[in-house]
């Protein structure tokens, strides 16, 4: 099953940490007899405290915001590339470009509004991830996915533009921007998860 080996190798390359990097767990201590360790699940009437402590802000609004921004960045990039002559319009009229721009703008605006609603939960807290890095990772991932989809739709579904003749590398490079953004965001997110997993608060 070569493809399974390839995928696992890819997952390993992207996500793997060397086994030696996983530290030994800290030496535990339990005092004699009746002393016990910290937080427990309260199996009686009260809800478990660790459930409340771990309430985090949801991630999906950040991904959606990233996607919306990714669409906007994509539209701007295409405009610039067109102005530079790197890409050439394949649309039959300017009306098609107007409709396409309007559609992307509506999608981006809707994404931003929905994301804003999703981030308004006052009970959510960000307690285990550095907020800025987390945001950056989510934006990269959302933006990368949006770029890829927008490019596919633009070029191959609606045929809005094509690359100037003879330029064989521009297409792969253009399409791969989204992919590399997703990879970068994933690596950053993974690094954040690792740091938060190994962070130890001061003993109370």
């Amino acid at each position: 099953m070569l493809c399974c080996v390839v995928l696992l190798a890819f997952v390993g390359m992207v996500l793997r940490r060397r086994a030696a990097d996983e530290p030994f767990p800290p030496p535990a201590r339990s005092e004699a007899a009746t002393q016990t360790r910290l937080a427990r699940v309260n199996t009686e009437a009260e809800p478990p405290s660790h459930g409340a402590v771990n309430r985090e802000a949801p991630m999906w609004p950040l991904f959606l915001r990233g996607a919306a921004l990714g669409v906007l960045v994509y539209v701007v990039a295409v405009t610039i590339l067109q102005a530079l002559g790197v890409i050439e319009s394949a649309a039959t009229s300017n009306a098609e470009w107007l409709a396409r721009d309007a559609a992307f703008a509506v999608l981006a605006l809707a994404g931003l509004l929905i994301a804003a609603r999703g981030e308004s939960d006052p009970t959510a807290t960000t307690n285990s991830h550095p907020a800025a890095a987390r945001t950056a990772a989510a934006l990269l991932i959302g933006g990368g996915v949006a770029w890829t989809l927008a490019a596919l739709v633009d070029m191959h579904l609606f045929g809005m533009f094509e690359f100037a003749h003879g330029e064989t590398l521009h297409g792969p490079v253009f399409h791969s921007v989204g992919f590399w953004a997703v990879v970068a965001g994933s690596l950053l997110f993974n690094r954040i998860e690792d740091r938060s997993a190994t962070a130890r608060p001061n003993a109370s």
């Binding site: 030994f24 339990s30 699940v41």
Partner: protein, 667 residues
């Protein structure tokens, strides 16, 4: 590797014949009531797939066939270049690009579809493969539409692509027939080799053997203890790579508890204290949202439904494994706290609350198993692993045993399904099958067969024995330079950290299986081969294998404490009554006091202790003494103690400088 080359093949058992091969008689210290002999034989098969699998495959090919029919129709009608390209794309991924003369796009389409299948296996997004296939067809239609008279399409593709499809189908069917015929031949040959083998199935022992842990055992156990005795919300030393597949932290929690439980069962059944605390922590850490939130996404893209509850559907890779954790803890520590309603509640904010307890979890798993035509249910959406479903079955067995229920119907159903739909003609196991579509995929053979053995043994000991002895015949060569000469590339992966190249993880699982089967000869040989390659690292009295994942190290600790039928005894049978009523060591300082042995006969308590951080004067807490009764403590300067009205007492000022034997007996 004929079994006749091995010493235990002597049909008249010799003095050094492994106990599992002896036709009768009990081992010293292991008085068993009764033993019976079973034949080890691969069932003959007349068809490559069982009836449920065939039904699924037929349904799948009907659906694909409908797509092929549409594609063929579009190709024949040739309504337009776009329609024809789309039709050819429906016949084969990338077929449309053959028509448009774009070999690069054709190759990319095939690669994308293949990658989609792999991702579907890994994470379960059910729409990804059809999107990749149909998407490529749609793209080829778009590309074809852009062709002009000066850039014509390749009309011969309208014959070439259907011909290629027909050839692929014919080749696939032929290969399947050939492979099945060869597998049947291998199966018959294997049966000839094992025809004289009689595996021993024994009843539970009246007094399960309890042995003393040595210093190396305790060092290995401390790795699991240090991981699990951290505060609930601390995770240092755990591996956080991804939460979807085998490197997920949930497996580390599972196997940490299994290792602690096995050490308790085989070495210290009369000790709770920090050993019980570590097990509870491992169970309760599973409730951390970081551990179980992955499921909402897998359920969404795999089952197309938004239901974040991690146990409600599929996901036996969490619920089943965890259920065994809970059941073992309750059984070994005589603590039924997790029977209380809501005692195992998943929380993620005020709107996401999923209350469970051991009873409701077991009932849910029972329902999933019994409602499935395979009597197994998926891990990732669609994907069934018999190994993972065995944990669900063991959860039900544990709950039934503790609550007067009966799991025999499920055991029978699982067993029938296993032989019918998850065994090949050569006795090898189908480790992964798509429950919706019916097809199976290859997997790491040594790992996947050896991991099954100990977890099938509780409910289906004959099946476990058959798997072990046939796998032993196929895969082990105890007389050769390489004890596992057939180990394959897919086995050279540490699934706990996705590291390729080393087979330490696979060897660990073989040791575990061999120990459970009582095949100490094989276990020792594979362990030696592992030690010849692996490097042990130590810190503060803790040992682990370097370069082996957390999961792998914990599995090895589990193997270390396993003995013949330990998993079976621990899951399927009640402990001796004396173990549930006799005195117990309920509290000791960690790591100052390492408990190497703790066992009771219902009246007295026998302890062997070792210092874990240098000589120390410490206090021990006992419970389950007879209230108000007097006891004599031998081994710490003869003392007399009196239990309080709750049957508890503390033994203060115990000097622990080296190995110390203590006996607490009624005066």
């Amino acid at each position: 590797m004929p079994l006749t080359a091995h010493p235990e093949i002597d049909r008249a058992p010799a003095a050094d014949t492994p106990a599992a091969m002896q036709p009768s008689g009990a081992r010293v210290g292991d008085p068993r009531r009764d033993e019976r002999q079973v034949e080890v034989r691969v069932p003959d098969r007349t068809r490559p797939n069982g009836p449920v699998t065939r039904a699924r495959l037929h349904r799948t090919f009907r659906a694909i066939g409908a797509g092929w029919a549409l594609g063929a129709l579009l190709t024949i009608l040739n309504l337009s270049t776009s329609a024809t390209a789309f039709g050819l794309g429906l016949l084969l991924p990338g077929g449309g690009f053959v028509y448009t003369g774009d070999p690069l796009l054709m190759a990319l389409s095939i690669a994308a579809f293949s990658l989609a299948l792999v991702i579907y296996w890994a994470f379960g997004p059910v729409l990804l493969p059809p999107i990749a296939w149909i998407g490529a067809a749609a793209l080829s239609a778009r590309v074809a539409g852009a062709h002009t008279a000066g850039d014509p399409v390749w009309e011969d593709a309208r014959a070439a692509v259907p011909a290629a499809l027909a050839l692929l189908i014919a080749t696939g069917l032929t290969v399947q027939r050939i492979r099945f015929a060869r597998a049947r031949t291998r199966g018959r040959r294997l049966n000839e080799h094992v025809s004289g083998v009689r595996a021993t199935i024994s009843d539970p022992p009246a007094a399960p053997p309890v042995t003393e842990s040595g210093p190396e055992d305790l060092s290995a156990l401390r790795y699991a203890l240090d991981l699990t005795l951290q505060p609930i919300d601390e995770w240092e030393g755990f591996s956080f790579l991804d939460q979807f597949r085998e490197a997920a932290v949930r497996y580390q929690l599972n196997f940490a508890q299994y290792a602690l439980a096995m050490s308790q069962y085989t070495r210290t059944p009369a000790f709770t204290g920090y050993l019980a605390e570590g097990q509870r922590n491992a169970i309760e850490k599973m409730l951390d949202p970081r551990v179980w939130k992955y499921w909402r996404w897998e359920n969404l893209w795999g089952n197309l439904r938004w239901e974040p509850d991690p146990c409600r559907r599929d996901n036996v890779m969490l619920s089943g494994y965890w259920g065994v954790n809970v059941g073992l803890y309750q059984s070994l520590c005589d603590d039924r706290r997790y029977e209380a309603p809501g005692s195992l509640t998943f929380r993620n904010g005020p709107r996401e609350v999923y209350p469970y307890d051991f009873g409701s979890l077991s009932e849910l798993l029972r329902g999933h198993l019994s409602n499935s035509p395979f009597c197994m249910f998926p891990c990732e959406p669609s994907w069934i692993y018999p190994f993972c479903s065995s944990f669900a079955l063991n959860t039900v067995i544990l709950h039934a045993r503790q609550n007067g229920g009966d799991a025999s119907d499920l055991i029978a159903g699982y067993r029938e399904s296993f032989d019918r739909d998850f065994m090949r003609a050569d006795g090898s196991v189908v480790a992964i099958r798509n429950g919706r579509l019916g097809f199976s995929i290859a997997a790491a053979p040594t790992i996947n067969e050896s991991v099954l053995v100990p977890w099938l043994n509780p409910g289906m000991p004959e099946l476990a024995q058959r798997l072990w002895w046939t796998m032993r015949e196929r895969a082990l060569d105890l007389d050769g330079d390489e004890v596992l000469p057939t180990i394959r590339d897919l086995d050279r992966v540490d699934v706990g950290n996705y590291r390729f190249g080393a087979d330490t993880f696979a060897r660990t699982m073989v040791v575990l299986a061999a120990r459970e089967m009582g095949d100490d000869e094989a276990a020792d040989a594979v362990q030696r081969s592992l030690d010849a390659k692996a490097v042990i690292e130590r810190r503060d009295g803790v040992r682990r294998y370097a370069k082996l994942s957390v999961y792998g190290n914990l599995a090895h600790t589990l193997a270390r404490f396993t003995r013949r039928d330990a998993m079976r005894d621990m899951i399927a049978f009640d402990r001796p009554a004396a173990w549930s009523t006799g005195p117990r060591l309920a509290g000791a300082a960690y790591p100052d006091v390492l408990v190497a042995k703790a066992v009771t006969d219902g009246r007295a308590l026998e302890l062997v202790l070792r210092p874990g951080a240098g000589p120390v004067r410490t206090t021990l807490s006992l419970d389950r003494l007879v209230p108000g009764a007097g006891y004599v403590v031998d081994g710490a300067g003869e003392r007399r103690i009196v239990a309080d009205d709750r049957g508890r007492v503390e033994i203060a000022d115990v000097d622990l400088g080296d190995r110390l034997e203590l006996t607490i007996r009624p005066s």
